[in-house]
């Protein structure tokens, strides 16, 4: 472990990518993620890497595909409007089964929206985003340290499963400074490379494509992809929980919206209300089973807090509502739920106003 450093989330993410072995970054400027692009522009030449400020987000994601196809997992980062432009590429990369890391330091939408933090890209990130039946890994950090740690995880997941890993952060996580430590190195990733394009010397030619015109072949390809997604859903779920037994209410959140819930739990404690905390770290795959277990066992109500109109809410409902009620509190268009607002909401739900 290295020294503790005070870093902005975007920079921590950039350095973690370098430590994870990222040597190819392609991106187009957009606030609030510009520090990542600038960091990679500065750092990559120092480690003999490649940095290109692309002509668009569309070009960037396709450069990520090209580099990834040669066995060099690449990263691109952007914010909401730019991530929308990358969706075509993300769909192709998934169909092609090429590893890639995409960062969304999301902002308020729809349209040009604003540059304030938001979680309104949850649906886009977790339910496909582009065309076709597919999923990508979605990792939701809630601290600067996690911006770094989950970036390293993202590279591992991408290569292990030959899938897209997305870091879904927001402007707060990108800009705020917190202490962060980095590992000196990461475990070697020796996943098979018998699919990469490096010239057909001594072997048959290889093809990376997502086009399958012969009848039935695309169905087979999809079945294979779905099998992979189902397996990943079993093996790669990550979440954090605290005091989920013996509490009066369960606070469910992720990323920046979760930070207010930690403080709300403390405030509620002073008021004599016990709150449990539940934070999905992987938004895909989503910890449905664990949430169902908690609901079935405790029957306590849950309050989902998000910076959107209730997107993760749908997933929590799917898991939880069979056994116990699910409530929602959200802020829109860049608003951040304060601990006080969450506390007030809980009191209302428990009839203790």
């Amino acid at each position: 472990m290295g020294e503790k450093q005070l870093l902005a989330g975007n920079e921590a993410l950039g350095e973690a990518a370098i430590i994870a072995g990222c040597r190819h970054y392609f991106g187009y400027p957009i606030t609030p993620q510009n520090e990542i692009t600038a960091y990679m522009a500065r750092r990559l030449p120092e480690v003999d890497g490649v940095f290109i400020q692309s002509e668009s987000e569309i070009a960037a994601i396709n450069m990520v595909l090209g580099a990834g196809a040669t066995g060099h997992t690449a990263m691109t980062s952007s914010s909401s409007p730019g991530i929308s432009l990358k969706q075509e590429g993300i769909s192709y990369i998934t169909g092609d089964e090429v590893p890639a890391v995409v960062v969304n330091v999301s902002r308020g939408g729809p349209g040009l929206g604003n540059i304030a933090p938001s979680q309104s890209d949850y649906f886009q990130a977790t339910k496909g985003g582009g065309h076709g039946d597919y999923n990508i890994f979605v990792l939701a950090p809630h601290t600067v340290q996690e911006m770094a740690d989950l970036t390293i995880t993202a590279f591992d997941l991408a290569e292990k499963w030959r899938m897209v890993s997305m870091i879904l952060a927001d402007g707060v996580l990108g800009q705020m400074m917190e202490p962060c430590t980095f590992p000196d190195s990461v475990p070697e990733r020796n996943y098979p490379k018998d699919w990469i394009l490096d010239g057909k010397k001594g072997r048959e030619k290889r093809l990376i494509c997502s086009l399958y015109l012969v009848e039935g072949v695309l169905e087979k390809h999809n079945e294979k992809l779905q099998k992979k997604f189902k397996k990943a859903e079993k093996e790669e779920i990550r979440f954090e929980e605290k005091d989920v037994e013996g509490s009066d209410i369960l606070l469910v959140g992720y990323g920046t919206s979760f930070r207010g819930q930690i403080e709300a739990k403390r405030q509620l404690g002073e008021f004599g209300v016990k709150a449990g905390l539940f934070r999905p770290i992987t938004l895909w795959p989503f910890p449905y089973d664990r949430l169902s277990e908690i609901a079935e066992k405790t029957k306590m109500p849950a309050l989902v807090v998000e910076m959107n109109a209730g997107q993760m809410l749908e997933d929590v409902r799917m898991a939880y509502e069979r056994f116990a009620p699910v409530h929602f509190y959200g802020r829109l268009g860049g608003g951040i739920p304060t601990p006080e607002a969450v506390t007030a909401e809980v009191k209302k739900i428990l009839g203790k106003g």
Partner: protein
């Protein structure tokens, strides 16, 4: 009986299968020229084809090299990623006029302008072949397509885009030439241009592009032999053949580009 002598064989880089191309289509000729060049440079083992979306999307079924498919128009960005990640590979994109000059204009201009060290084979058949004969950026004025049923008009669609002229308006590209595959003599010239482009790439000189005027009898509704004449008589006057950029021959003064 006189002794038989082999004068032509199938290039090793060309797979021995029947293509899906229509009779009289130029794609097959162009595939063969590329395969010959790959053989002659002995680069089959390190070549990567970036296939477009268009009639030639299945080029990877005919060329015996590693290949990747790109989304419509994005081949130059994919090629950029490949070549930057593994500069030892010989990388080429193969793109139609819709792919390169409509949906993919941004990607080709910027890859060319960065001087990416790959080769673009640009097939200009003045129409969208794969989707059934719509207007292309290179469709001629008065040319009938399914989306210009009264012919392309300047008022509604503007003039055809000349890609070699556009790309060679940039300073960085290394080699840009327009050729045609309309007859045997032109085909031989086309081969020389493709060979030059690959040569420059192998030498690491920078971005190279060869535009090939080609035929689409099916969507032009002109039978194959007459189609080749149509290339000569209708396309060539607006798309003049020739070298538009060869930086091995011309010095470009770029001193004014720096603010230092």
């Amino acid at each position: 009986m006189a002794k038989m002598k082999t004068v032509q064989t199938r290039p090793e880089a060309l797979i021995d299968v029947t293509t899906h191309y229509c009779p009289g289509c130029g794609h097959g000729i162009i595939h063969r020229l590329i395969a010959e060049v790959i053989d002659e440079f002995e680069i089959q083992d390190r070549t990567v084809l970036v296939a477009p979306v268009g009639c030639s999307v299945l080029a990877y079924n005919y060329l015996d090299v590693d290949a990747i498919e790109a989304a419509h128009g994005r081949a130059p960005a994919v090629a950029t990623g490949i070549k930057r990640a593994n500069p030892n590979l010989i990388v080429f994109t193969y793109q139609g006029d819709g792919d390169l000059a409509a949906i993919g204009t941004n990607e080709i201009i910027h890859a060319a302008n960065r001087g990416e060290n790959f080769t673009t084979i640009f097939v200009n058949n003045a129409i969208y072949g794969m989707t059934g004969g719509q207007l292309a950026p290179t469709t001629l004025i008065d040319q009938i397509t399914t989306t210009t049923p009264r012919g392309r008009s300047v008022g509604n669609e503007g003039y055809p885009i000349r890609v070699c002229e556009l790309v060679s308006s940039l300073i960085t590209p290394y080699y840009v030439e327009r050729v045609s595959v309309s007859n045997a003599k032109n085909v031989r010239k086309a081969k020389r241009a493709i060979k030059k482009a690959f040569q420059f790439q192998i030498e690491g000189r920078g971005f190279t592009l060869v535009e090939l005027l080609s035929s689409c009898p099916t969507n032009w509704s002109i039978e194959p032999v007459a189609s080749m004449k149509w290339v000569d008589e209708k396309m060539e006057p607006f798309f003049p053949l020739g070298v538009y950029r060869d930086r091995s021959k011309e010095e470009v003064d770029v001193s004014a580009a720096s603010c230092k």
